[in-house]
Symmetry: none
Subunit: 177 residues, 4 copies
DNA sequence: TATGAATGAGAGTTCATTCAT
DNA sequence: AATGAATGAACTCTCATTCAT
């Protein structure tokens, strides 16, 4: 499954045939179907796996109300996760932006997204009660854009400086005006 | 070609067979090849077309140095263009995030990106001489994230409010600290 | 038609599409069908044309009985013709050796072959009455092999020396033993 | 593979589609590609196979210098081989005379040709030191013409008589004058 | 006479999936 | 648990030919 994630992430889901996966894990094509019902189901499980891991990371730290420090910590976490699971995120983006994505995968991912950003609604609500939703959307855009840039061209910019700038932005509260 | 853009944008380049395109424009598969040498070339031409249109929009307004007003105007333009060419941008994102993208398309797009963002380097250099590059990356992330969210789920948020917030951010200069 | 012969000879009948021919003669594909009913018929006419020309060359010189000098002259003629119509012969060989050749073409060519070699039956009958048929076959093999080698790799040997050797062979009568 | 050789030989490489081959061996088109990477590679393997067999036949008998008896034996061998592998030779001729032949096939065949005829250069050099090359070309033409006639119309002449005549020619040394 | 848009059959090839062993 | 031969549908692309203009 690690091999599959690697292949899918590197070459794209469509471009990786079951034959390639089979060769990658050095078993026969036929045997692959003893472990996964279909190619779709295989992808689905890969995504599930990774999503669960990500939940594990975040759920432990962030439940209930969120303080300012926890918010900044969350940003740190996102950057760490993004760098650790780059392959997964690359796959996710290439899937997300491909219309007609597998339904189950779509559900899981949009669930993840909702859970994470939902968690911060209360936070933003407290910080900027005038329009917390737009505050959320802004934050979400910023993070998604960052991830996208990092995931597909990690060497094209200094990620730590960007992280610093984002944290700075949310520290000096100037976004509240 | 409009039909192709529509189909590619809706279902993804890989998922749209030449047969589907042919059916879409109600001609025979064979005849399609009187107009386009190959599927790749067809995509390439679609992208070229749209890229040229975009250049036309921006080049007219922005040449040489950029004032603060022009910068804000540019943000407006991006939002207008994003809304007008949503199909194209959807296609672009789905292509960009697919590994092994067609080379010609890649060239065109990275050229467009460089030209546009390069234009703003001088602007940011003036506004925040300490670290204009990170400023650019931040701006680029924000816009890309916004586009991505809009392009794939336009109904999920109020785009005008987001635009307003972005312009506000760049107006009160708090990002310079 | 010269263009067609050139193309067919150079690239092979199968490999030359009607589009290529049309481009070669700089008329439209459609118009081509005003002159030739089909691709087959086009080939047929090309072959016919050339065959007639060859008949014209030989018929004038060789009718009725053949003397030894006329026989040697014939060999000369074959070599001249082979060098002049190399393109045609190249096409002929590539057609002959392709099974399922067009019937009409096949007829014409086998007719040509029979006429020419038939002409020499009487000659060989006189020269070597014991087995004129084998004498003919030997002669025919020698000439066909020579043509084939010349037509497909003219630069690979000295054709004049070969001609000289063949004529020498038929001059010193040692083949009659 | 025997079926393929048979089909290719009978109908010509171009004219035989993979579908026909598949039908011939009564498996699906798709399955064919488990055995051969492509149509070209299939042809290539057929040719390789036959060429190796031919090498096996000749290499065992003829190494180093060649006596007159061995030379006559070689002619015998050629006739035997020609009759045994008629299908293969038919395919070879139809390929050779088709422009743009597959490179790999061409290599194998020209290699075979060079090896075999090269072997006889020393022989002719001894027999006719004045012009061994033309002697070779003459011999080569004669054999190629014979093969061509036999391969495409075996019933049109008595091959044994022709063989006899050829051997006779090379026996009474009258070609040396 | 000339065009070129249009067609449909068929080419080689790929691939997810199945199944007897 | 494991194989790999087998399948059939789908893919991109080609081409001889037709026909309205």
């Amino acid at each position: 499954m690690e091999v599959s994630l690697d292949l899918f992430s590197r070459q794209g889901y469509e471009a990786v045939s079951m034959a390639k996966v089979a060769k990658g894990v050095e078993i026969s094509k036929g045997n692959l179907y003893n472990y996964f019902e279909s190619k779709e189901q295989m992808l689905s499980e890969i995504v599930l796996n990774a999503v669960e891991e990500i939940y594990r990371d975040f759920d432990s730290n962030h439940d209930g109300e969120i303080s300012h420090e926890e918010f900044l910590k969350f940003i740190d976490d996102v950057f760490v996760n993004m760098q650790q699971n780059r392959k997964f995120w690359k796959l996710v983006f290439s899937l997300l932006l491909q219309p007609n994505m597998l339904e189950i995968v779509e559900e899981k991912l949009s669930g993840l997204s909702k859970d994470i950003f939902g968690l911060f609604y209360t936070y933003f609500n407290k910080e900027n009660p005038k329009d917390p939703v737009t505050e959320m959307v802004f934050f979400s855009s910023l993070l998604k854009g960052t991830m996208m840039q990092y995931v597909f061209a990690p060497e094209s910019f200094d990620i730590d400086k960007l992280k610093h700038k984002i944290k700075l932005y949310y520290s000096n509260h100037c976004h509240q005006k």
